[in-house]
């Protein structure tokens, strides 16, 4: 497929793997920030072929995984209301809240619909004036412009039965939280290419400087990721700590100014909880007061819905790379992909789920031989 297969060429990938292994004089620890990158790494087995050269820590950049339990519970509460049509991206439907997930609410009669664009949700609101239509606005800076556009458009069209349940998060504060942790092990980052397509990389420059850590803006195909790893390793070996751009076909330093403008018009920075990590100050986006009528939390008075995460779950330490998933006391016993306690076991490419499956495979080898 044009513009994809070029970045999946196995011979070039193997050449890059060789180059990485040759240029690393020691084992380096890198974090890929974005869930999409983790997906490629796990799907292609990139973490395995790198051998001793690099340890990849899967970062907190999967919006499905980091959406706090509390927001999931609020979504479930709304979706169960008979006057509500609850709209969401597909993969939020199976995220477990305190008691169940959106698919279960749907089976009990809730009107839950998958949309591919938040603007579709605005359309549903226009066509169903007797219903309240709520869109679950989750994600990082990548999905924020489209979600902002939906709110903007609803106001422009005077659609009053539309609101958004916002759980937006932003990348840089999460990176700071990881770097500020006294037990941090991450020595370099692959920044999320799509986030930077919107935001550019100016905001990462002070981070690279202050924490003396290489940051490479990286794409999502196997060759992108391998090249990003190689660029980060080369910086580490040279003792440099700069922001470099691997994803040149998509990202400019200043990002997409008009998308940024739309986001700052509709949203403002707020403190936001991250599943498994806790609240990170200034790490989220919330609706500005002039868009309050479109804020589902206010419209439906959801502030009272609170949730506690399991104390047995050490997801925060896993996400920061301080604990290997199998070192968690709950791993594989209390916590499995079928009954996950925390985000990294919820996601099929989450660190815990990836280790769980890989471990099953290795255990099988031992049994059979």
């Amino acid at each position: 497929m044009k513009y994809l297969s070029e970045y999946r060429d196995p011979d070039m990938a193997r050449a890059l793997v060789d180059r990485i292994r040759r240029s690393a004089t020691r084992r380096w620890t890198l974090m890929e920030v974005c869930g999409g990158q983790t997906h490629t790494i796990v799907k292609q087995g990139i973490h395995e072929v790198l051998g001793e050269a690099v340890e990849m820590i899967h970062g907190p950049g999967c919006p499905v995984c980091v959406t706090p339990l509390e927001q999931i519970d609020r979504a479930l509460h709304l979706a169960a209301r008979p006057d509500v049509i609850f709209t969401s991206f597909g993969d939020m439907l199976r995220v477990p809240g305190s008691e169940c997930d959106l698919l279960a609410i749907k089976a009990r009669g809730g009107n839950v619909r998958v949309v591919y664009s938040p603007l579709d949700a605005v359309e549903i609101a226009r066509k169903n004036p007797d219903k309240e239509v709520v869109f679950f606005a989750v994600g990082f800076e990548t999905t924020a412009p489209a979600n902002a556009m939906a709110v903007w458009r609803a106001r422009e069209l005077g659609v009053e039965n539309f609101s958004v349940l916002v759980s937006h998060v932003t990348v840089p504060p999460a990176m700071v939280a990881i770097l500020e942790d006294p037990e941090n092990r991450v020595q370099g980052f692959l920044a999320a290419g799509h986030v930077c397509t919107i935001m550019g990389w100016e905001e990462y420059e002070p981070l690279a400087e202050r924490y003396r850590v290489p940051i490479v803006v990286t794409g999502f195909e196997p060759l992108d990721i391998l090249e990003g790893i190689w660029m980060a390793i080369r910086q580490l070996e040279d003792g440099r700590h700069e922001v470099e751009n691997q994803y040149v076909r998509s990202v400019r330093r200043e990002g997409n100014r008009s998308a940024q403008k739309l986001v700052t018009t509709v949203f403002e920075l707020v403190d936001r909880g991250w599943r498994g990590i806790g609240t990170i100050p200034g790490s989220g986006l919330g609706l500005r007061s002039e868009f309050a009528p479109y804020d589902a939390e206010r419209k439906f008075g959801l502030e009272g819905i609170r949730a506690e995460e399991s104390r047995d779950c050490h997801a925060g330490e896993v996400l920061k790379g301080q604990l290997k998933p199998y070192e968690c006391p709950a791993f594989g016993g209390l916590c499995t992909p079928e009954r996950p306690l925390g985000a990294p076991m919820v996601s099929s490419e989450g660190a815990c789920a990836a280790y769980y499956n890989f471990g099953r495979m290795k255990a099988g080898t031992v049994t059979a031989s």
């Binding site: 869930g35 292609q44 591919y116 079928e338 099929s348 490419e349 890989f358």
Partner: protein
């Protein structure tokens, strides 16, 4: 009981982020996905009540004794929205689905029954087209529709129409492929490119358009099985059509039933438009439904003959080897990536859901 298909949900499949499976007080759409939830439903609710040695074999149909010989019986229910889609309609599926299930058991399909639930208000023209498709398809497959039933329900109580078909097929000689017969060393062959049916349905339902139309692959696999029987015979260990849950689920079922590991190596055949659609929606073609693709496990020495037999038919002209059976990791399917890494290709809990990230 065959794993009857719920085509309504089978188009929505792929690598999804969150994957919990818990006990549910209500039936979920995911219970019809062909993944872990479907297996759980069967294991916890149906098998304990109906269990017997024929059912517990969990084949695509049952081989039952009749006066000193054996026949195969299989049943399948078809619910698909929209009723008509590029490449066919629900009538084609209703005949091909049961014919294929009989063929996967090694039988030559002979007779079908057809039961219809019609919704008040359904256009007669649509019904005519569905019945025409069934008549033509049955004739082409060499089966007769010998009994049937119709019921009509209130408007809004059904999605246009539902069809159940039950089929009877005859076995010949010693040809008894079965999901529990895979052995280390066996070659794993796929009869054609993957993902066309699921993505054709999804494209229509979601209003997606691509450079080239994606057509459903609905087709009879019976001629392929006949050729395999004639040219390979007992060298054929297991056959399974890769319907809902896709190739990944079919392989997992066989790996479990046989207690062996499956290793996929190299690439699986996916048509470019299907690949493009899957990329766009964040779905994995390994889990997308097919209606005219089967996987065959054959003894290593029979591989070349089996491939030649399949490629002799238009529906199998792109047949190819996708992997082999290994003694390691019993019950699991592992993909060797082009880079030399590995990836566990697990059963999905429910339907594949489009991804955000």
């Amino acid at each position: 009981m065959s794993a009857t298909s719920t085509l309504r949900s089978s188009a929505l499949q792929g690598v999804a982020c969150p994957t919990p499976v818990v006990d549910h007080a209500k039936v979920l759409l995911g219970h019809g996905s062909g993944g872990k939830l479907s297996a759980q439903l069967l294991r916890d609710r149906f098998l304990p009540r109906f269990g017997n040695r024929y059912l517990e074999a969990l084949g695509d149909g049952a081989r039952v004794p009749v006066e000193g010989t054996e026949i195969v019986v299989s049943t399948d229910t078809f619910v698909v929205s929209p009723l008509e889609f590029p490449g066919g309609n629900i009538g084609h599926l209703a005949v091909h689905g049961t014919v294929n299930d009989l063929a996967m058991m090694g039988a030559v399909p002979r007779y079908l029954s057809a039961g219809f639930v019609l919704e008040e208000g359904l256009d007669m023209a649509v019904l005519d087209r569905v019945l025409d498709a069934m008549a033509e398809t049955a004739a082409a497959c060499g089966v007769e529709i010998v009994t049937g039933d119709t019921k009509v329900v209130d408007r809004g109580k059904a999605d246009g129409l539902y069809v159940n078909t039950t089929g009877v097929g005859f076995l010949s000689e010693a040809f008894r492929p079965s999901p529990d017969l895979a052995r280390p060393g066996d070659s794993i062959l796929v009869s054609g490119p993957l993902g066309r049916h699921g993505m054709a349905i999804m494209a229509v339902r979601e209003g997606l358009s691509f450079d080239a139309d994606i057509e459903s692959d609905t087709a009879s696999l019976s001629p392929l099985v006949t050729s395999l029987r004639e040219s390979v015979g007992e060298g054929v260990r297991c056959l399974r059509d890769a319907t809902r849950g896709g190739l990944a689920s079919a392989l997992n079922e066989i790996a479990s039933a046989s207690g062996v590991g499956v290793e996929l190596a190299g690439s699986v055949p996916v048509p470019p438009p299907v690949e493009a659609a899957c990329e766009m929606l964040g779905l994995d073609p390994l889990y997308v439904a097919n209606e005219g693709v089967m996987v065959a496990f054959v003894a290593p020495e029979a591989e070349a003959r089996a491939l030649a037999a399949m490629r002799a038919h238009p529906v199998g002209e792109h047949a190819t080897k996708v992997g082999r059976v290994v003694p390691e990791h019993p019950g699991m399917v592992v993909l060797r990536t082009a880079l030399g890494g590995t990836r566990v290709v697990d059963m999905l809990p429910g339907d594949q859901l489009p991804r955000i990230c």
